[in-house]
């Protein structure tokens, strides 16, 4: 079947939390039918890839199928965390939107909120 590429934001929403030098980012399916696409493509490898410049020592993905949600836990990605980082966003609160920009392949006829290509 023909496929098109959409940013993850079309299929999911999420929020970042921080504790020390560890960030957690939720990725939550907007609709139940998007969930399998997320499980297949929003993987530990894919997320580790977009965080490569922050040198995560570990990326773990936890699946919560009841909620159609996944939780990524990234270790050592906050330049020491809120008290040490020199980033304006020392909590890393913006980082969910780095993940939500991940390109995802979807079937051509899948209905998404804007339906547009990235």
């Amino acid at each position: 079947m023909a496929a098109r590429t959409v940013p993850l934001r079309e299929l999911a929403h999420g929020r970042t939390g921080d504790k020390g030098n560890r960030s957690n980012i939720s990725v939550i399916a907007r609709r139940e039918e998007y969930w399998p696409l997320l499980v297949a493509q929003v993987t530990e490898e894919a997320v580790a890839g977009i965080f490569a410049h922050r040198r995560p020592s570990k990326v773990a993905r936890y699946l919560l199928p009841n909620l159609q949600a996944m939780n990524f836990v990234l270790d050592d990605v906050l330049d020491g965390g809120v008290n040490d980082s020199l980033n304006l966003d020392s909590h890393g609160k913006s980082l969910a939107f780095l993940v939500l920009d991940l390109p995802v392949q979807v079937p051509e006829d899948l209905e998404t909120p804007t339906g547009g290509d990235p």
């Binding site: 934001r9 929403h13 929020r15 921080d18 410049h53 009841n66 020199l86 780095l98």
Partner: protein
């Protein structure tokens, strides 16, 4: 005998939250009637260290600076309607906060409010020196060191009839678990119920973050009347399950999406969300829409609590210097990049963090790897931001001076210089045996 359900409203999610938020929450709790409490969470990790520094300057200070504005407008209604207040706004000086509330209550005509102060979290004194030195090292003396207490001292104060319970450091969800535990008479080893109430507290603890705050993404996630976002109210059942709603006649929304985002906020392994009270497990959790702006959370489980308590200590950590200057129009990005090169040459003693706001900033890293990989573009509205830390204030001040001097010595057309120098705090955490921490409560009269 079945108890009437307990309503817990949250009127603040951090120090710096909207001080007028509790009013609509308390009005709603009053209108509903029945057992209720107002929870105010105002104590992020660093907030406590900053409070401890204020207390050093003034022995009567060190509690939430917005205390009067948070509590003043609602205190009479809470005391008059049996709505109890539970808050960590005591920060580094819960006794002083309690005395201040007592003064406000007397002005409002309540002569003998029952105010309890939870004690035992502050480990910065000599009695705990050896305990902490063993775990965190002898070299430095902390500005603050506090154990995360749990729900038990709050529940004990509630049982004893406290109308207002002032704490310092407790785990945020424990502000909700304590009242539920006392109201329903749960034991401290009723893991499933404690786990459920913990996640209810977790949904409440960031205030509007569960009711449409920190959620809007125009076109993707729209939130009605967000400027007037309402704060949450949870109905916690006998079994600890909860239904999250919000204050009447407010904006915002409570949907499956808002609740899921907050449920996972600051969670690591969803099978083991650790607090002093319980190991909560949300792997089987379910959320269901139970009405307009009402979402039920069920299926949370609990396992035995951790054997130790977490302690976080803060230390003086040198100085943070920041400076910024903006460039616009043709060649703006090239001029901002040249300004960054100038600063790097002028300040070899500082390890500079460079951001080109409008090109790359928040997603980047202190080492500059993302910026280095970025092919220069032709961005036309760019703010250069530099930041550095240093143990010596004089060295940090050099950054501010050099950024300011870019007005005359830097690239053409730079404007809007702002600089700031701030003391930094560094932190370290460890775990201590529960027996080493004497948690309890005392009355303030």
């Amino acid at each position: 005998m079945a108890r009437q359900p307990l309503l817990i409203g949250c009127g603040a999610g951090f120090s710096g939250d909207r001080p007028d938020a509790p009013e609509a929450v308390v009005a709603t709790l009053s209108a509903r009637g029945g057992p209720a409490c107002l929870m105010l969470e105002t104590l992020a990790e660093r907030t406590l260290a900053l409070a401890q520094l204020r207390r050093r300057e003034d022995p009567q200070a060190g509690y939430e600076p917005l205390l009067d504005r948070l509590v003043g407008p609602v205190l009479a209604e809470c005391l008059g309607n049996g709505i109890r207040i539970v808050s960590n706004f005591g920060a580094a000086n819960p006794t002083a906060a309690a005395r201040r509330i007592d003064e406000i209550a007397r002005i409002e005509g309540f002569t003998n409010p029952r105010i309890a102060v939870v004690t035992g979290d502050d480990l910065s004194g000599p009695a705990h020196h050896a305990l902490l030195a063993e775990r965190l090292g002898e070299a430095r003396h902390p500005v603050s060191a506090n154990a995360y207490l749990g729900a038990e001292p709050i529940a004990a104060a509630w049982d004893a009839g406290a109308e207002i319970i002032v704490t310092g450091r407790v785990a945020d969800p424990s502000l909700a678990v304590g009242p539920a535990m006392a109201h329903y008479g749960w034991s401290a080893s009723d893991w499933d119920r404690l786990g459920r109430a913990t996640m209810a507290g977790h949904l409440l603890e960031c205030g509007a973050q569960v009711t449409g705050g920190y959620f809007a993404d125009p076109g993707y996630k729209d939130v009605p009347d967000i400027a007037n976002v309402g704060f949450p109210i949870a109905e916690v059942s006998q079994d600890g399950d909860c239904i999250i709603g919000k204050a009447d006649r407010t904006g915002g929304c409570v949907t499956l999406a808002t609740v899921k985002e907050q449920l996972l906020y600051e969670v690591h392994d969803p099978a083991a969300y650790l607090t002093p009270d319980v190991t909560a497990d949300i792997t089987q959790a379910q959320v269901t829409q139970a009405g307009t702006d009402l979402v039920a959370l069920t299926g949370v489980r609990g396992h035995e609590r951790p054997a130790t308590l977490k302690v976080t200590a803060f230390y003086e950590g040198g100085w943070l210097a920041e400076g910024g200057i903006s460039y616009a129009g043709p060649g703006a990005e090239a001029r901002a990049r040249l300004a960054a090169e100038i600063l790097a040459k002028r300040l070899p003693e500082l390890k500079l963090r460079i951001d080109l706001i409008g090109v790359t900033s928040l997603f980047a890293d202190d080492a500059g790897r993302l910026l280095a990989a970025k092919v220069p573009s032709d961005a036309r509205d760019v703010r250069l931001r530099v930041a550095a830390r240093h143990d010596q204030k004089e060295a940090a001040e050099r950054l501010a001076q050099e950024v300011t001097a870019l007005y005359t010595c830097g690239p053409a057309g730079g404007g809007g210089v702002r600089t700031a120098i701030r003391p930094r705090l560094s932190t370290a955490s460890c775990f201590v045996p529960r027996e080493a921490v004497k948690a309890g409560f005392e009355w303030v009269d």
